[in-house]
Symmetry: C2
DNA sequence: GCGCCCCCAATCATCGATTATTTTTGAATC
DNA sequence: GATTCAAAAATAATCGATGATTGGGGGCGC
């Protein structure tokens, strides 16, 4: 899986950097779900040749952000209420499993990293009037916090699945809750999860995480229903 | 995800057919874990250009059969006891979840398809003296049976995860249990699963499936430990 | 003799052009 | 007016060649 946090520092191949750029464009909704991705035009607008572009799109297909049909090109993966429901459901199950494992295996240093990630996240301003850059920083910190929660689970494949699902879930949130100001105190929820995790309260932690994910899911689902009706 | 059953009938792009050929080569152990995949030599031996080759390898990376390192080429994903353990663990959890959902949602036609798949599977001869082709047919039927069990779960993403994990698990089995004659009556286990599923006995079905997966896992793990020591 | 640096061969990454496929368009027919 | 077929335009897939990057081996200084 491509690293989402570090922006390809040294040994970055052109394809890899493209993956990052395209991922951001899709996640933030610059490229809306269902959009056809014309190769020639993309080649022109990104200033690259077809080979790295194809490779980047192929890698994004793995993350479920792009859909390929042989001989018929690429498009941004469409959205649907059913797909969102499945993403949320799987996030609950898989992140829950990962969290339980992490609590079982994590050491003190891991607890420290969770607190650090939480602190970093809380330092991000996030309101309706935040600049794009500020929001972007919050997204990164938010992603990092959730990743850290399950980082100690010793199951790399599972972490990868969770990352993929989180990507897809974030895309929905960022597109359909774009105008939606945070209605609930998300920061408190994060703090509660971190607290329960560090106190090694397995049941409590996974219950809060589940609620956290499902609440977000319901909010998106509502917005999605309205959005799809009006379109 | 690429279709594993149909061998790219009509609108097959060169890359797609390559994916199938390479997947088979890796799954059956012609290309052993860890092998470096030299692009030039492969280009020559498959008689294609670099573009479709790269694309095929990229798609196989998604399935976890090939590992890419920027600027340093491709290699067949290595194996390890830890990885195998995680694959088995995740198969148990995810296929279990999928099976429970399928039992809940499946209709009569689905039951019929399960029985059909089981029948097809039982008609395959499988012994130490089977020809390669016969073994290949069994592998396909086996895969189809397991896929059918969870086909009614209404969770396409979950099915995809299961398919990926099954691929990885099958690779281990086919490489490390190559000489190993089936020690137990696998056919009976399959019949028992199908029976429990059709009788809608959720707990019983998932318990048998779990045992089925874990037993195979233990056998592979044993062979793997010996194999890795002797190498 | 040992370690470091630079150069060369091998190999991966990228490009621009060519070929094959799909989609559109437009004219002829029913 | 709708339908069907064929040619043309658009677009995707593939190729062969060119431009980077890496890793190994010989030469130089210490």
């Amino acid at each position: 899986m491509t690293d989402r946090t570090a922006e390809a520092p040294s040994s970055a191949t052109l394809s890899s950097t493209l993956v990052g750029r395209l991922r951001n464009a899709i996640m933030r909704g610059d490229l809306m779900p269902g959009t056809r991705l014309n190769l020639d035009r993309m080649r022109a607008s990104f200033g690259v040749s077809l080979s790295p572009l194809r490779e980047a799109l192929c890698r994004l297909e793995n993350d479920g952000l792009v859909t390929i049909v042989d001989q018929r090109g690429y498009r941004v993966t469409p959205v649907s209420a059913e797909n969102l429901a499945e993403v949320i459901r799987l996030r609950v199950e898989l992140e829950g499993m990962a969290l339980r494992e992490a609590i079982q295996h994590g050491d003190i240093a891991w607890e420290g990293r969770i607190l650090a990630a939480l602190h970093q996240l809380n330092r991000c301003k996030r309101s309706a009037r935040s600049s794009i850059e500020e929001q972007e920083v919050w997204e990164l910190a938010h992603r990092a916090f959730h990743a850290e929660l399950i980082a100690a689970c010793r199951m790399p494949l599972l972490q990868q699945f969770c990352a993929t699902l989180h990507d897809q879930s974030d895309r929905y949130r960022r597109i359909f809750l774009k105008t939606h100001t945070p209605d609930r105190n998300v920061a408190e929820e994060h703090a509660a999860i971190a607290d329960a995790v560090i106190k090694r309260r397995v049941r409590e932690a996974s219950a809060i995480l589940r609620a956290h994910i499902e609440r977000t899911g319901r909010n998106i689902q509502t917005a999605l229903d309205h959005g799809l009706c009006s379109t």
